[in-house]
């Protein structure tokens, strides 16, 4: 009796599962590139990529690994864009004949924004999928775990959007980075803040590596400029209601309200601060580290205007041919406008694969040498790695300049109109590139 019940239930379940499997969200990628999403240990959602078949372990594909957050609590929006950009890069390269005459296979691992997942995924990619190189990653916290593992296994890794100084400051041979470092970026942004004339700041930062490192750097750099009225408040990135803390800040409104939160939190703070009449106002400006995600205006409404924000990449006025082509193709393929991190992911893949091509082999040591002397004209501009074993880092220079693209483009932009696209936003810093006044007040 019980037995029959169980069997019926099991059959029902199998039927349901077949049904559910049929209702998956629409596949995103064509079958030219066989891509898998690697999920380690049970945690929610991954983006579904058409799995046509298990990847063949033949020696006539070159397998590389991608890393990034594709599910909560990571910033899965950014991660998904990086995935898409990476896939686009691989697809283009394959269509042009591949690398060393072989097709490239990208296996993108979902690091979920959790350090232990990042560790497990990286190890899996290296030991299980036997990737010959890694690229990507969005969160500093993950990068800080991944670079150690890449180093342990001797696999080259090109970081696309990890800012923590320590990663290249380690001076490991395997580690390369095309993103700005925290210190590099903070110098620029702190300089800008001083230029804009702001004397008192309150930063709301996410309670992560990035949030802590960022606010520490800003505090330090601003102090160097003589600006010491700086306060930092930490919050969980998933907080819904910031109002009490904003009201607290409103007691003594600062010149600048800085937001060092990635993802949806930025929109919430902007709306809630604006609703309270705290910022942006003539007295208090808003600096949002991450204000370029597609739903930005949907989430902030009119309150998103006048926000100053960071843009890593090339603003429209400086696009080169490759940038233009990339932006158009991405928009057409994925139906939304890519952020700077997508450009970085795209270039990181190209950098890695070009190095393999130039090295003539996938053997790590050769690839690393090729990376060191590589010069690549990317959508971000001309990329090269100034210091390494090919060009020793001089005494007194910053340790993180090792295997670092020395001049990543960091721009400070400002929205001057509601619903403005990132491309049309005003460039306010660096001065030699600016397209408008240093700061437009509401």
């Amino acid at each position: 009796m019980k037995m029959r019940r169980s069997i019926y239930t099991l059959l029902l379940i199998f039927a349901m599962s077949a049904l559910l499997a049929g209702c998956q969200s629409t596949p995103i990628v064509e079958t030219v590139v066989v891509t898998q999403i690697v999920n380690v240990e049970s945690e929610p959602q991954t983006i579904v990529i058409t799995p046509t078949s298990e990847p063949q372990k033949e020696s006539d594909t070159i397998v590389i690994g991608g890393l990034g957050p594709l599910s909560a609590p990571g910033n899965y929006e950014a991660g998904t864009e990086m995935l898409q950009a990476s896939e686009m890069a691989v697809r283009e390269i394959n269509e042009a004949g591949g690398i060393l005459g072989k097709q490239v296979e990208l296996i993108f691992g979902d690091t979920e924004g959790l350090p232990e997942r990042a560790a497990a995924v990286t190890e899996r990619l290296i030991t299980q999928n036997e990737v010959v190189g890694l690229s990507g990653e969005y969160h500093s916290g993950q990068g800080l775990v991944e670079y150690e593992i890449a180093h342990n296994y001797g696999i080259p890794i090109v970081f696309a959007e990890v800012w923590a100084d320590a990663v290249t400051a380690s001076q490991y041979p395997e580690v390369f980075r095309i993103a700005p470092t925290m210190e590099y970026y903070s110098t620029i942004s702190a300089n800008y803040m001083v230029e804009a004339g702001w004397k008192s700041m309150v930063f709301i930062a996410e309670d992560t590596d990035y949030g802590h490192l960022q606010t520490e750097e800003w505090t330090r750099q601003l102090a160097g400029h003589g600006v010491t009225d700086v306060q930092t408040i930490f919050a969980d990135a998933a907080t819904e209601d910031f109002t009490p803390i904003l009201q607290r800040i409103q007691q003594k409104p600062p010149d600048l309200l800085g937001i060092a939160l990635t993802g949806v939190g930025t929109g919430r703070i902007l709306r809630q601060a604006c609703d309270l009449g705290l910022a942006p106002t003539a007295q208090t400006a808003v600096y949002a580290a991450d204000a370029q995600y597609p739903e930005y205006w949907e989430n902030t409404g009119a309150c998103g205007n006048y926000a100053v924000f960071t843009y890593v990449g090339l603003p429209k006025s400086l696009w080169n041919e490759r940038t233009r082509a990339f932006m158009e193709n991405f928009q057409e393929t994925y139906q939304h406008q890519p952020g700077g991190h997508a450009m970085e992911a795209y270039d990181a893949i190209y950098v890695l694969l070009n190095a393999i091509e130039k090295a003539g082999t996938t053997e790590p040591a050769a690839v690393i040498n090729a990376l060191e002397v590589l010069e690549y004209e990317g959508v971000l501009g001309k990329i090269w790695f100034e210091y390494g074993s090919h060009n020793a880092l001089p005494e007194g220079e910053k340790a993180w300049l090792w295997h670092q693209w020395p001049t990543p483009n960091v721009f400070i932009l400002q929205y001057t109109e509601e619903n403005q696209s990132v491309e049309d936003a005003a460039v306010v810093y660096p001065p030699e590139r600016s397209t408008g006044p240093v700061y437009t007040s509401p």
Binding site: Y76, P244, V264, R271, D275, N299, G301
Partner: protein, 297 residues
Amino acid sequence: MDYFLALTVTGLVMGIIYALMALGLTLIFSILKIVNFAHGEFYMLGGYFTYYLVNHFTGLHPLIAVPIAGLGVALIGLFFELGFIRPIHLDKIERPGEYAILVTIGLSFFLMNIGLAIFGPYPHRPPSFFDAPVKLGFISISADRLTAGVLSVLLLLTLLILINKTWLGKALRAVSQDKQAAAIIGINHLRMNTLGFALGTGLAGLAGALLAPSFGVTPDVGAQPSIRSYVIIVLGGMGSIPGSIIGGIIIGLVESLGAGYFPDPSRGLNYKTAFGLIIFALVLLLRPRGLFGRKEL
């Protein structure tokens, strides 16, 4: 003083909205005698329905979408009750107490993940009800929140009238007091259960719809409100309607003032929900029946 008042107003407004959602939970407990552990997910669904309604029917003012969303959520609650909770009262379930807990936990697990699967991870926000901050003297509050607060008050009043003055309300109360006696005088307690559950989840959906323009919607947006609702009904007394209203206001105030006055501003925000939880644990330990609850647990 200004600061204190500003925090208080925010706390009050949020408290009323919390109370609406908690009232739904209390109704379910009072009529069906179970705790709905999936309450937060119905809140989430209310928010998403609003978003999709406005998106799909361009020109539909979000305020009109709210009651429709609430109705939609109530329907889902209704069907779930019929399929999975009614059997308890038909004596088809062994150890009904445990089952009730587990089945709503299962529902919560299921709904949250189906939300993720269907809606995707991107944060969305339906357009504002009214797009301007409102200034009452020195206090600023968003029109969205104020609207949500005012509507919550209206809904609460409507509900109180429903429960106390209409026949339906009396029938619901009869079932909550004594199922068998109600059956004797001809009230179909099974139908009242279904109605109660639909009403309760509908309220959660309405709360979610009302707050969607303020906070946006993500698949896990219901997690915190869920816990908050438990806190409120325990504080107010499980099954007590005035309890959940007063409890809601208290928690709203506690969260607002707590985060506002926590000595270390850099961490005050982190612990906002923790304040409520600590109150919750203390109430359970020291005075389990809460402020207005009945004596038995």
